[in-house]
Symmetry: C3
Subunit: 348 residues, 3 copies
């Protein structure tokens, strides 16, 4: 996407130099668990900070000593290459020490011993915990029992806030202000923590969110709007089962990975049928706006939820998403560390 | 335990600055395999050095470059979050490089290939090896075949010297000189490497050690004292099967984790019965001295060997133990590195 | 081998200081996948650079900041202690950041998702990828899909170029110019990536390579020379089934590890029979030249392919090979980084 114009300046004309002497707006949040309680201003601050981090990453020596002496522990109860590497690299680019713990399922899976584990990590000297867990809500449980900062790197079907923030940042870089932008999220909404966190982030930023997918994979099927909100506690979004109609005039088309085991669970007639109805391909994409972005949290099932031509085409910002992920995660770690320092009324 | 007075000065009024120009007593030990051959002076030197490290860990940037260019390898044949993280953080806080190797059981478990593995690690450039192994004595085998320093991070039921040193340091911080202090170790003594190393460390420091637990989980059952020493090669300790009597006037109550599989092995009538007789709870703790410390090497089975109220109560220093672990391990790595340098008659 | 004379100067009297201002010959190679297309000059340049790195490793602080800000990812689909540690230590000694990914077989083994994984690692910010994979050719597939440098740390039975380069460097240090030197490779040639890469490296350097092993473990059995080259695409080597004859006047005897499962596959009558015919022992070694080197890529089956007396005897450079491995891998990472910089026409 070299031909695509990208905004490198911050959302607001505020001086931003992570090493210089600047007065930054305060950041008081101690954990990043989901985006459901993030304000518009907070998301903007992440975007702004990520832009500064992007600059750091473009240097010959991609490293600042901002978090020197800080220890970030990544505790992953689910396998992950992408997200773990992204957080590790983010932490190291800020000069932090990283300890990686790949928790094998069996012995460490009970809630009880999870709390024991994270308390130990805190006592050992961890300052921030980046965690992924199979159980929705696990990071909330942890956050209640520790003083260190907790970043949710994915919990069950619930939330994946750093992914949604990097998606917001990626959209912002290309399209600027998100207000009024039409963002279509296509696929298995029910089981997607990426979708959930994006629904929160995008609506907070003023985007118009349209969900599209087979009724069996939509949280509310086709029930009326009001009921949805009450039952699911999600902000107001539109639902459009036809992808052709949903994609009409879209600014952003966000595909979700189809977990192939959904078919065995009886939620899909067949993968082929799914691809016929919900694959984002060139023909369908032609209905979107000319500068529409195509996004995907990865890893991609090429030829299923997205056609190869679209995945690697001029509208795709999929690789840039991964790339922006490091900058956004640097921003989160930086803001959490700064917040902590502010709270201690001392400046690093 | 914010209300508890803590000694921050060293055991002896000796200037101690790990970065300044001071004359330190010599340290000639190359490995830390167990405490059975540690002198009182050596344990004091670890405590003293740990106090200096504690100061480093309290700084804004918790890091000194003392071990820059040194490579510490952690080789764990048993899963561990606590001990491995603690050593890793200790090594990094001293500026060392860390390489972590989680050895999967099957292919690397035979003694023969263990020696091959560690020789390779040495040839690759490791300076210090921190190892945990299921077989008692494995670190001794390794130490005979390498020139690098070996730290035993737990071998079978045999020894766990860094745990016992951090326990000694924790007691020292609160109670000062250990001489004459009554320390009760409660639980499954037979299968506990923590207990064994503590028995050595505590008796060397002059404490009076009382073991308490079901006869099936005591190494000598209830046989007379003399015979014990001969059979087990342990220093002289007392045995008191009744926890109520054992805890009477204790300065320290050290609970051990009950491995729940002991019941299946027929060594316990039931977990409930065990808890009834050997749980450290508030009622029992009232018999100890008013400033008594409650310790546990973790992870805790709350409600089994210790009641929740005691585990989180005013006497508990359990979290501080984990915290002190990093300082004590920094001290060990530092002393081993300095010993090495002294031996080479060159100063870093 | 303290008694053995070692050349510490470079192959050619060229000033070599990796930190100073020197004009180095250009290095344009972006990947290290095998040695089949390495020129003599390139191998010499690796040897020369490794000698400079060896000097760095002999310093009190074994570290230069040459690759500061560079991220090296090790992606191992097969377990490895030796090679992974060696690359990690090499990268860290050059100041690079290292992210280790131990890919568990099942979910990540298909070619398709391998490409997805490495593209992600690149997008996340990896500059160099060191990879080991069960499938021959996997690193070539990867190299076609990424911009970062790929180093093959072993692919199936195919190639292990860094091992062959460290072997060449080790021979060079002891014997100087390899031209005309007789190198005997003994054992299971067919299944050995070490043998294949060494055949390429050694013949390119002008050595005379003699292969020796049971016909069932030689790629061509006993068919005529010409046919071998055509079928296997390997350079011209000699085959001598009798170890006594092969070892006659040898400068180097390179033993390969016998995979004990070869017997179950019916390729060996018995391990005992194999040892009787192909074990390198003192009696046989007496037929080689007086300063002959004995090498082994490890791990050793003592008493099978090599006798204990020879493995630990005066001719053995086996531990030195492991040691040289770090210097040679530093050289590779350094040259690849420099090549990259040259290509960008900017100097770090």
């Amino acid at each position: 996407m070299a031909d695509r114009s990208v905004r490198t300046e911050s959302p607001e004309p505020r001086t931003q130099d992570i090493e210089g002497e600047v007065v930054l707006p305060s950041w008081s949040r101690r954990h990043v668990l989901d985006l459901d309680d993030f304000s518009r201003q907070e998301i903007e601050q992440v975007i702004e900070t990520a832009a500064a981090m992007k600059e750091v990453l473009s240097r010959e020596i991609r490293r600042v000593p901002t978090l020197r002496g800080t220890t970030v522990v990544t505790l992953f109860y689910e396998a992950s290459t992408r997200t773990r590497s992204s957080f590790e690299l983010a932490a190291r680019s800020l000069g932090a020490d990283v300890i990686s713990i790949a928790a094998s399922g069996s012995s460490t899976e009970k809630g009880e011993s999870l709390v024991d584990t994270v308390r130990t990590l805190q006592a050992v000297g961890a300052d921030m915990l980046v965690m992924r867990h199979r159980q929705s809500g696990a990071p909330y449980l942890v956050a209640r029992h520790v003083n260190m900062s907790v970043v949710n790197a994915g919990d069950g079907w619930h939330a994946h806030p750093s992914q949604a923030l990097l998606d917001a940042y990626t959209i912002y870089r290309h399209l600027g202000d998100l207000r009024g932008r039409k963002v279509v999220i296509v696929g298995d909404i029910t089981h997607s923590r990426v979708a959930r966190s994006n629904i929160w982030g995008l609506t907070t930023m003023g985007a118009r969110v349209v969900l599209c997918g087979p009724p069996t994979l939509l949280p509310w099927g086709l029930r009326p709007d009001q009921q949805r909100e009450e039952e699911w506690g999600l902000p107001s979004v539109e639902v459009e089962p036809s992808l052709d109609r949903a994609i009409e005039g879209a600014d952003v088309v966000m595909c979700l990975r189809l977990q192939l085991e959904r078919q065995q669970a009886g939620l899909l007639p067949s993968i082929r049928e799914y691809a016929r109805l919900y694959q984002v391909n060139e023909e369908r994409l032609a209905r979107a706006r000319p500068e529409a972005l195509v996004m995907h949290p990865g890893p991609i099932n090429e030829g299923i939820e997205i056609s190869p031509a679209v995945a690697h085409g001029a509208h795709s910002v999929i690789e840039e998403q991964v790339n922006n992920g490091v900058a956004v995660r640097m921003a989160l770690l930086y803001l959490l560390a700064r917040g902590k320092t502010n709270n201690r009324e001392a400046l690093a």
